[in-house]
């Protein structure tokens, strides 16, 4: 079945074909045709990914590098040894990502058919969605860092286009959707700045950007394999391969392993010489900057909450399930490098943990249903990044997979809620139209926001499917056993603690403590949200008239809900009672180890599991008691604000810690002011007008005036008069420009300069002409 690996380009090219079809013919196909093409393309890509998965299992997890058809080499400069190709890589890591992207992607495409129904740019929406799949799949299947970068910026572009999909609408005072889109792209570009520098440094360190060259297998790290607590490296095959590939061309990661073992390799870069270890630390930190952009970590997370301006399926697909996890994927892909640098790993862990807690805290104070989820996403990404930092690459990928399902579910369900609210609102407006004069409703209309949870309440009865699926997502996110989030979150917590206890990494303890608190926040804000949306009584007539969404939307919801419950079973830690016997021990880890050198499975720690569930349960109980049905009748202020001290804490969360304000006043506005100053004052008034006009031009004119009167009139004019007349006649015949001024000016310049040249060059010319 190895031939199946050759199918991998199709994973990219099928969505591309779908996108092109809809781009050029979408206007004539009607909603149905467009939807069939788009969803079909996505589903076909998913099928290919499934085939690849089966082929992987069948071939004993062999990896393959496949050249892209039609395209030759991308950037090839023989004299400089640069050869960057269009190559796809099939291994367990890329297949995992492919399955998640296309699987969740297909469900969201399907849902979007219902959600976007009736939009005037319906075809365009699906063009962008398919284009997103193309880039995301390029990102995860590329065999070199530059191809990853193509996908990396490409998904950023799609994110830009989709956030700004309703670019003519505004979101809040003076903040247009297009501004949110632009903010997302630029903030991401700041991260990309780091990533591209990292890629450059990688190239000059290793002489290649390929992860592995064709036919090469990841080398297992010798020292690590001997240690008992990191099992499952040498499967015999690899060791043989190791010998075979110790010489010959090598990809980045194996070369890194070898140089790390040698220990005394030096790297020349831009007139500096660095030890190999230092170089790796710099590379990984630059990569981290990239990851903070794409995966919304401190300090660059600010774009993600604004990105909620896009349609909800976009939030689910791009800003929750797939694109934002690209940073985590990239770091897991580079696990060899991160593993080699303790400094970088520590920074990664601290950034992740900081993000997890900060975003979790901010989420508590939000009223917008999607904003809560956005901050929740930031927080969960923080969990994944922390996992990378403490070396728990399996846990990071595991959480990435489970999170993709339950967060997509939550977003889609929130979209269903918004849809229901809008429906209720329409119904209301319609009813009032019929009844004639109800000024009160009009007043209501002005500040009605279908996404504001203060207008919701009591939707449990109105939208039962949405409610139940939402509940599944919430329980998974909060980490309640046996939902998916429990398994992955627990593994991150355990691995952090182990990094502290076993390896003595301080960031392990810090990560563990911070993440545990963040997990409590997670459970709290999610239950606050569930209470506000679904429990109690309707606080607005729109919520009273909300209806359940159609089947095209609820079917994806229910599918995702099933996954949110079940997907965690793919990686039950070893030694977990009953379940590990039922589903096998950390199968996902075993699978991942084939391509992620430093991935490892987890062992169950029941005490920690119990602690995590207890913390979550207490937080849920606490949330429900604060947001009880009675407390939610009047929501002019949050129940948390009743207490004077907590009110301030809530206020900070509500104001998002003034993070945006800080950036605006210290970076954005100064940059804009400086741009204005440079453009208007320095470049124009000073350099253009003052220096050129006044100093150079006027002094030139002054000099000309002096020369004109005594010299020109007397001497030169006479001799040049004839010539001047001739030219004037010629010129007046041609009549190019009416202003005599130009003509004489240019002419005088010409003759003047010729004279000067002649004088200066007289000796040379004499010699030249042999006079």
């Amino acid at each position: 079945m190895e031939n199946f690996f050759d199918l991998v380009p199709l994973v990219v090219f099928i969505p591309l074909a779908g996108m092109l079809l809809n781009l050029f013919a979408g206007q004539n196909l009607g909603e149905r045709g467009v939807a069939i093409i788009a969803v079909g393309a996505s589903a076909s890509a998913f099928l290919i990914a499934l085939l690849l998965w089966i082929a992987q299992i069948d071939t004993g997890y062999g990896a393959a590098v496949i050249d892209a058809p039609l395209l030759g080499s991308w950037i090839e400069i023989p004299s400089a040894g640069v050869d960057i190709g269009w190559q796809f890589r099939v291994d367990t890591l890329s297949v995992t990502m492919m399955l998640v992207v296309t699987g969740v992607g297909t469900l969201i495409h399907l849902y979007a058919v219902g959600y976007m129904h009736g939009d005037e740019r319906f075809p365009r929406f699906f063009v962008y969605m398919n284009l997103f799949l193309v880039f995301m799949l390029v990102l995860v299947t590329g065999n070199n860092f530059l191809m990853m970068f193509v996908g990396w910026e490409g998904v950023g572009l799609c994110s830009f286009l989709l956030i700004g999909f309703w670019f003519d609408k505004a979101h809040g005072e003076g903040w247009k959707n297009s501004d949110a889109a632009r903010k997302a792209f630029i903030v991401n570009r700041i991260g990309d700045f780091g990533l591209i520098l990292g890629v450059l440094l990688t190239f000059w360190t290793f002489g290649t950007l390929d992860y592995y060259v064709p036919g090469e297998e990841p080398l297992a790290h010798h020292a690590e394999t001997e240690e008992a607590d990191v099992p499952l490296f040498g499967t015999g095959v690899e060791e043989a391969e190791e010998e075979a590939h110790a010489t010959g061309p090598m990809g980045v990661f194996n070369q890194a392993e070898i140089w790390l073992e040698e220990g005394d390799h030096e790297v020349e870069f831009g007139m500096v010489s660095l030890s190999f270890k230092t170089t790796i630390t710099i590379i990984t930190l630059l990569f981290l900057l990239g990851a903070t952009g794409k995966s919304a970590q401190i300090p660059l997370f600010v774009w993600l909450p604004d990105a909620m301006a896009g349609p909800t399926p976009v939030s689910a697909l791009i800003h929750a399930a797939t694109m934002v996890t690209a940073g985590v994927y990239m770091m897991v892909r580079s696990n060899v490098l991160y593993h080699a640098s303790d400094t970088a790993s520590a920074v990664v862990a601290l950034v992740g943990a900081g993000t997890a807690i900060v975003a979790g805290y901010i989420a508590v104070g939000q009223w917008d249903i999607k904003r809560v989820l956005a901050y929740s996403t930031v927080s969960q990404l923080g969990f994944m990044v922390t996992a990378v930092g403490v070396g728990a690459y399996t846990a990071a990928m595991f959480h990435l997979v489970t999170h993709a399902f339950f967060k997509a579910l939550l977003f889609l369900a929130s979209g269903s809620v918004i849809h229901g609210m809008e429906h209720g609102h329409h119904h209301l407006a319609h009813a009032h139209d019929g009844h004639g004069h109800d000024h009160d409703a009009d007043a209501h209309d002005d500040d009605f926001d279908p996404q504001d949870m203060r207008f919701m309440g009591g939707l449990r009865e109105k939208m039962p499917i949405t409610y139940w699926t939402y509940l599944f997502g919430t329980l998974a996110l909060a980490g309640i056993i046996p939902f998916a989030g429990f398994w992955s979150k627990d593994e991150i917590l355990l691995d952090s603690l182990k990094a502290g206890l076993d390896d003595g990494h301080m960031e392990g303890y810090v990560g563990f403590g911070v993440l545990l608190v963040a997990a409590a926040f997670t459970a709290f804000y999610m239950w606050r949200q569930v209470s506000l949306v679904f429990y109690g009584k309707a606080r607005h007539e729109a919520a009273d008239h909300a209806v359940e969404s159609g089947r095209v939307m609820t079917v994806p919801l229910m599918t995702l809900a099933a996954f949110s419950l079940g997907i965690g079973f793919i990686n039950i830690p070893s030694g977990f009672p009953i379940l590990s016997a039922l589903f096998g021990e950390h199968r996902f880890a075993n699978w991942l180890e084939e391509s992620v050198t430093y991935a490892h499975g987890g062992t169950a720690n029941l005490l920690l599991a119990a602690l995590a569930v207890l913390v979550a349960t207490i937080a849920i109980y606490f949330a429900r008691s604060v947001y009880s049905d009675e407390a939610m009748v009047d929501l002019s202020q949050d129940p948390l604000e009743d207490d004077l001290h907590i009110r301030r804490v809530f206020g900070w969360a509500n104001a998002k810690l003034y993070w945006d304000e800080f950036y605006f006043s210290f970076i954005v506005y100064p940059y804009q002011r400086a741009a204005k100053w440079l453009a208007d004052v320095l470049d124009w008034q000073f350099w253009h007008d003052f220096v050129h006009e006044r100093i150079i031009y006027r002094s030139y004119r002054g000099a000309t005036d002096v020369l004109t009167e005594p010299v020109d009139k007397g001497v030169i004019d006479g001799s040049f008069n004839k010539l001047g007349d001739l030219t004037r006649q010629a010129a007046s015949r041609v009549r190019l420009i009416q202003t005599g001024y130009v003509r004489t000016y240019a002419l005088s310049v010409l003759f003047g300069s010729l004279l000067v040249i002649f004088l200066i060059l007289f000796p040379v010319i004499r010699e030249l002409l042999g006079i």
Partner: protein
């Protein structure tokens, strides 16, 4: 045809077109404007076809000139000035760029240009002829002649068909570039005199074999004379002041040619003359020129963001892009040079496209102020979609052409043996800044609410406009996805160019350069700060009603101190640098070159 090479044919065809246009009235009773347009387009397409043939005949295995054509022109006592043309891997792409852009510029003029049509197209074809001449000339004097000839049609294109302040802009363009080229003329004559010939390959050979030795001082002066002429044309910061005037005032096709091709004459000049003729001086000046290039990248991008006029924004963005090109060239290795050349081509395509775009907006609304637009996407979906591609290509989205160029340049500068790492780091900042100004423009013009009544019924592209943009979009993707095709042709030539600079660097010489020139450089740096301070501060002070003279002193002190402060990081790592130089031969395992 016998001895006439394809290159000569490509060169002559536009001139034949000019003759045809001049005598066109003889064939018909009245000037037929439509016939003139189509004739011109046909000639330029024919030239493009011939140049494709030339590309087809190009032998990638040869580093030197191909398809040469040599005729003695002026003979005088041992000196021969020749009509000597030919292409190598560098100039072949410049010629291709010229012949590719010209039909688009001509097609885009069909609608907007309705006055003095014949004269206009005569100038366009003259322009094409002269520019091809510049790129294929292999004789110093011939090169200089064409270099000057390009000024004339452009002067009239701006001066006659330009916007309100066209006369002023035309004169400024003329004088500014003229001033530079006079210096070059001096250098050309001097060099010809020293070498006893004007034929470029002969002079280069003399220099490489050591037959002709100019001496350090002379070499540096000659380098500077050429460099200033080219730097004005590029334009490099701070010699860019003519550019916004010329661009903004020029008609659309003029801007396209100016940005697309004319500016490349500057960067091409550096590659063709400065690098092979003055190796020592190039090495000495490389960090300074690259420094100016990096300043240009950041400055251009920053100033772009402060513009209200969309054409001016695009004009300033050229300064930023050309900064990348210059950085690549003065990385002085094969990667950098090839990246620079390719980015030159890319800039011609993307910025050419941007100017076409701006022209189309202007034709519809007769304003170039961004504030006058908004939400155009709803009114002109096709135009906006194509514009998006061009904007993205200009800001370097991977998979499109701009990225390949920028990446290769950064790859070259990062691996350079002459430039320190921070050139690369600061240049990469330009990538962020490009996104900032480009998206600002795109957001203001195309996105947002379609709230202006005048914009509601703007017609989408007509066929001339569409077909002038489609080739650009196609090339954006072709270069972006298959850059190897382009590198393939220039690889040998670029390697030969870079050879003198990348052969085992003499460790002692480099260290000597660092220690010997450091004091002077620091002093100059401090003085430049002081001068800037003296000039700038009074201006700011006078705006605020304070005594400008006291401001001068404060400014001088502050400027000098500020510049010295900027040196601190340099200072810190200088010792490390010297140690490395000694270690270099032993550990140089860096790939490539």
């Amino acid at each position: 045809m016998g001895d006439i090479s394809l290159v000569s044919l490509v060169f002559i065809l536009p001139l034949l077109g000019v003759l045809a246009l001049i005598f066109e009235p003889l064939f018909e009773r009245q000037t037929n404007e439509q016939a003139i347009r189509w004739l011109t387009l046909g000639v330029s397409l024919g030239t493009f076809g011939l140049s494709l043939l030339m590309l087809n005949n190009f032998d990638t295995g040869v580093a030197g000139l191909q398809m040469e054509h040599k005729i003695d022109w002026i003979e005088a006592d041992g000196f021969t000035i020749r009509y000597y043309v030919g292409v190598d891997g560098i100039s072949v792409w410049m010629v291709m760029l010229t012949t590719f852009i010209m039909p688009l510029a001509i097609l885009a003029s069909f609608g907007p240009i309705q006055e003095r049509v014949r004269l206009y197209y005569i100038f366009l074809l003259l322009m094409e002829w002269a520019m091809i001449g510049v790129f294929i000339a292999q004789d110093l004097f011939l090169f200089y002649v064409f270099w000057e000839v390009t000024l004339v049609p452009m002067y009239f294109l701006i001066g006659i068909w330009g916007a309100e302040e066209r006369i002023y802009a035309a004169i400024k363009f003329f004088l500014y570039t003229m001033a530079g080229s006079l210096l070059m003329l001096l250098a050309v004559l001097w060099l010809g005199n020293e070498a006893g010939t004007f034929t470029l390959p002969e002079i280069i050979e003399q220099i490489q074999t050591g037959e002709l030795s100019l001496g350090t001082t002379t070499e540096r002066w000659l380098f500077l004379a050429f460099a200033i002429a080219f730097a004005i044309k590029v334009p490099m910061w701070p010699l860019h002041s003519w550019l916004p005037d010329a661009h903004v005032q020029a008609p659309t096709a003029g801007s396209v040619i100016l940005a697309g091709i004319l500016l490349k004459m500057g960067t091409y000049g550096f590659v063709r003359f400065n690098l092979p003729l003055f190796p020592e001086a190039s090495k000495t000046f490389a960090p300074y020129i690259a420094g100016l290039a990096v300043i240009g990248i950041i400055y251009g991008a920053w100033v772009s963001y402060g513009q209200k006029d969309v054409k001016k924004l695009v004009a300033y963005s050229s300064i930023s892009h050309l900064g990348f090109v210059m950085l690549g060239i003065f990385a002085l290795n094969s990667t950098g040079i090839q990246g620079g050349i390719l980015q030159g081509v890319n800039h011609g395509i993307s910025t050419g496209g941007l100017f076409l775009m701006v022209g189309m907006l202007y034709d519809r609304r007769h304003t170039k102020l961004m504030a006058a637009f908004g939400g155009i996407w709803k009114a002109m979906p096709l135009f906006s979609g194509i514009s998006l591609v061009i904007v993205l290509s200009s800001m370097g989205l991977p998979g499109l052409n701009g990225f390949v160029g920028e990446f290769t340049i950064l790859l070259g500068s990062a691996g350079s043996e002459i430039l320190s790492w921070w050139f690369t780091a600061f240049a990469a900042l330009g990538i962020i800044m490009a996104a900032i100004y480009m998206l600002y423009m795109f957001n203001t013009v195309f996105m947002g609410e379609l709230d202006k009544e005048e914009n509601r019924n703007l017609p989408d592209l007509n066929w001339q406009e569409l077909w002038s943009l489609i080739p650009i979009v196609v090339m954006v993707f072709v270069i972006g996805l298959q850059a190897s095709i382009f590198f393939d042709l220039m690889d040998e030539s670029a390697e030969a160019l870079a050879a003198p600079y990348v052969a085992n660097p003499n460790a002692e010489a480099l260290v000597e350069l660092n220690t010997g020139d450091v004091e002077l450089a620091v002093a100059l740096w401090a003085i430049s700060g002081a001068v800037i301070g003296v000039v700038v501060t009074p201006i700011i002070y006078s705006g605020r009603g304070r005594n400008p003279w006291s401001g001068g002193l404060v400014g001088a002190a502050a400027g000098a101190a500020g510049n010295l402060l900027l040196l601190v990081p340099l200072w810190v790592y200088t010792p490390a640098l010297e140690v490395d130089e000694h270690a270099l031969p032993a550990t140089s395992e860096a790939p490539g070159d």
